[in-house]
Symmetry: D2
Subunit: 339 residues, 4 copies
């Protein structure tokens, strides 16, 4: 029951707004007033008044659409080898024609020197005209391991990208949990300043679905609307996404959703430590990775739906736990009572 | 205000079910009990107990995913030149690598002899190894013009497809309005029997979004789940689509939605005739095509959001009107009062 | 034996140069001195000193590589419906992700007004953001029907392209036969001035294989070398193409090849008229289209390998005849003796 | 002058046959008698009478065409991380929509246990429906490092492929040099028995260009001809490839070409050892990898065109030397005199 952060519907305030507006008639495809207002709110909070904002449906779709819109045919995208695009998107990036150029991760992250070294090596190779040119950098904030990049780290990667004239793209599928982390010093304004394109995740942060793509300088992707349509990513009833993001960015709901999940994660962490459950990794966001005997996992199957992460020796496994806007102390206590 | 059938949110019963189930925790990606039950309901109403059912988000996405899953790389899809895939999907089919082989339409429809003639011509051509092989037939029920295929017409096209061993695919974006038409004699069971794959449209028939793909014989598309994922078309919170379709297929809601729209279309038609507004085409479903002076259209811009269809001579235009589950007589009267 | 212009090997002067240079050691991939010199010769004869020249292997490959290099993902290419890319490249353009937007041909040609009307119509359509944007114009000189564009016609199309800011691309698979035609007033210099990219055909004009792509302003396609490699179109022994084009562009061989073929075509035309064989179309280049009874065609099968073009009524067919650098009067006399 | 094995034209016997047949008129696209005879010869020497044989132009083109013809959209190809498709084809495989799933190489090779472990891991992962399914195995014989697989090693990989029902594809760009190696125990018959598809390289083994794809069971790739056309890989004058392969497979020329190159490589190796030039790797085929001071390399630039392989410490580099059918002792002596 803590296997992921997309096990419930949407935050009640979102459901309420969808209900209140349900019978209104509006234009389709994101030209309705709610979508327009939501975009304006996001521009404000990101402090980039000229940004193009588009609402897509899901993370893989957003990554595939943005990356193929940005890259030239002969370019690939640099990513950590644990990046969502590298591992868990069923080859969506390659289907779009592009190689994912992977770097070894450190708790889900890559570093500016590693990116620079890859770029350096590419241009130093006499054969580089026969190779895939690195054309952008992809990373996730927080990462798939729940770790976060500091402003210093992001700035360093940003600087490498600038030096090599390639855009930086940040996948914010779980961005609310990074923004709410005590360890975080990267604001939405920082992201808008340091990235060429990023998305603010809705699906895993309290919406029914939806990801808000932010392009601070819209010249990066001309005709993005048509590209979205061509990728089958354009919602006819665009307002359904617009209303959700308008609600998320009204009265700080997005941040509060992150904060609640992190409070629950802190409680869960404390209680797991109290029970001496060993940790594989304790990231500063809403995910925790613990080590359980396979025997326990099997014994509880049926009662608890664990998210298997990887094997840990022959008899144990790493299991991921995730909290969300909807996690209650009772959910956690119930899980703990079984361990 | 009658410019399309996707101007409102969802049918109130759908909103109610989404609200009632909102806080439940379920598995993602369509493995939740609501999605499973919805699939079972659709299998029953289609009388194809082995069918694979998958819920995707929108029409272009569904067409692009299904067509590229079915075709071999060297094949194209036969479609009417007014087919959605031929005209209004921004090249999504070509992005997937396939040519749309168009036939001239008759009020949005193609005929069995025309399909056979194209297939015949292809195999008769000594150069056909250098040409795009026709690999499937695409049509819409109802068509983009609101017309519908009779059981006899569909059977004839089905027979041509069988003869040439190519699958028949039906785009049912507005299927509710065909099913509810007085002129219709094609049931869901007939579709499941006559097609190799089709989809039951949700977005334009009362859902927030969602299209239910039905594959009567699942062997047609192995690994369809992964293909959906790869196309960015997999919903994390799959239940949001599942609950909608479960509601649509409980107590005949899908049919009732169609019926209400057609009753409103009948009323609209009667009143337009009473006002001597000339018709371009009067299809038997929820769309009507009238001819208005450009002057009128311009004069009302701001008050009425017309869906421009095509020019009609130098001074007039064809305008599409569409009714939906949400259309009220007052909406119609208000429009009529302006014309 | 007159069914096409690619039935023999290469012009003897080409074979001789390949033989003379066979044992020399040179760099690969087109960096050898022969390729460099050939490129320089072509730049001179086209009067565009900055042009990028690349040698590819065949016509379909060249069209697919150039078109996908030039177009954005959401763009299509305007072409006559009889264009090689529209009909006889097995969907190579669509495999690259792009729609071919066809215009009805007139003896293989399209006109500037027709192109402008298509572009106009696209931008006038309120839905054009949901449609494939026309991104370039493709035509062949001479066309697949052997007809040629006059300088006036090409200039008009060039002007429309400029007006709409889209490039003009000319497929010169049989360019030698246009250049040598008495009716022709379009030189290589004109092509380099009026097109954004074109290719000078080798395969059908006396080479073993090879097409020389000319990009007058190389900024049109950055990293074209890598794009060629990625399309599998880069020759390891690039000099084999280079030597052929160097020979073709030494002492006017390319033009002489065209002239010989046209002299043979003139002789063939005269003799066919003398025999009262009806013509379907008499183009001014190296192809002729005659009408023969199917009975005759069948009776001669085994002796003559006709190139079937299309049916002509129930009992006759159109047959294409083509002359080449290698056609001799005896070849023609032998064919005529059988008709 | 020993930087690669594609620095000269073609073996003199090939040039002679091209010359002798130059003026004959034959059908195009590989239906000429020479191509048909060449295919028959290859079927014989491979002992697979039903095999489909097709002649393509180059290696990258062949790999891209074959791999995309074999894989389903959601599948990737397993390859060593030094495989040509993984590194030096400019993303041609990804352009075709597929991920290259790399395994760490050992002197260019991968092992059956490593392949099995990757396949095992994939199916053991609970998330594998969200991942790229391994759909075939690619390897090179000899490898890019000049190493060769033994019959035992290939059989083991073949068995893993059979167990997991995925095809094995072997890139034989330099196959002549493997076949001629003293250490080799894998014949063409073995390849035809152990692989599902492989190609016999011409470009790097004495032809002007050309690779012969062998599909022992043609059902593996229906409509391969059209797929080749669609990839721009179909030669109009198909006989130019056919005549070359007919010559290569007449009187054992292909093997003799390999033998000569290996004799020259043996001589080169002996002389390098005599001069105490350190080796990075001494493979059993026509490539040698030596370590030279960067100073030497720079000093000789202009006189010798070295093929840089990789850095070796701060002051040295690995350089590849390659012999071919055309290498003479004088070439070697000249190089040695400079070192």
């Amino acid at each position: 029951m803590l296997s992921s952060d997309y096990m419930e519907g949407a935050h009640p305030l979102i459901m309420q707004r969808l209900l209140e507006t349900n019978l209104e008639k509006t234009s389709g495809y994101g030209f309705d007033p709610y979508s327009l207002e939501a975009k304006e709110k996001i521009r404000e909070v990101c402090d980039c008044p000229d940004a193009e904002i588009q609402f897509l449906v899901g993370g893989t779709q957003t990554n595939a659409t943005v990356i193929s819109a940005v890259l030239k045919s002969y370019q690939g995208v640099i990513a950590p080898d644990t990046g969502h695009i590298a591992l868990h998107e069923a080859g969506a990036i390659e289907l779009g024609g592009h190689k994912v150029l992977t770097l070894p991760h450190e708790q889900g992250k890559i570093t500016a020197p590693a990116v620079e070294s890859l770029l350096n090596g590419f241009y130093a190779d006499g054969n580089h005209d026969h190779m895939v040119m690195p054309g952008m950098v992809y990373l996730s904030q927080p990462t798939e391991y729940g770790s976060i990049y500091s402003k210093e780290e992001l700035t360093a990667i940003h600087n490498v990208c600038k030096k090599y004239h390639i855009p930086l793209y940040i996948d914010g599928a779980r961005l609310a949990y990074a923004l709410a982390s005590h360890e975080n010093d990267v604001t939405l304004r920082d992201l808008a300043r340091l990235c060429d394109v990023f998305y603010i995740g809705g699906t895993k942060c309290g919406a029914l679905f939806g990801e808000a793509v932010v392009i601070p300088n819209p010249d990066l992707i001309p005709h993005f609307f048509t590209i979205i349509k061509q990728h089958g990513a354009l919602l006819a009833k665009g307002r359904i996404a617009g209303i959700q993001f308008l609600t998320l960015f009204t009265d700080g709901l997005y941040l509060r959703i992150g904060q609640h999940a992190l409070e629950m994660a802190a409680y869960l962490k404390t209680e797991l430590h109290r029970k001496h459950i060993p940790f594989f990794y304790e990231p500063p966001t809403n995910q925790l990775f613990i080590i359980l005997p396979d025997q326990t996992i099997n014994a509880l199957s049926g009662q608890v739906d664990f998210c298997f992460w990887e094997k840990y020796g022959d008899t144990h496994s790493v299991v991921r736990l995730a909290t969300s806007w909807a996690t209650e102390k009772e959910d956690i206590n119930r899980l703990l009572s079984l361990l």
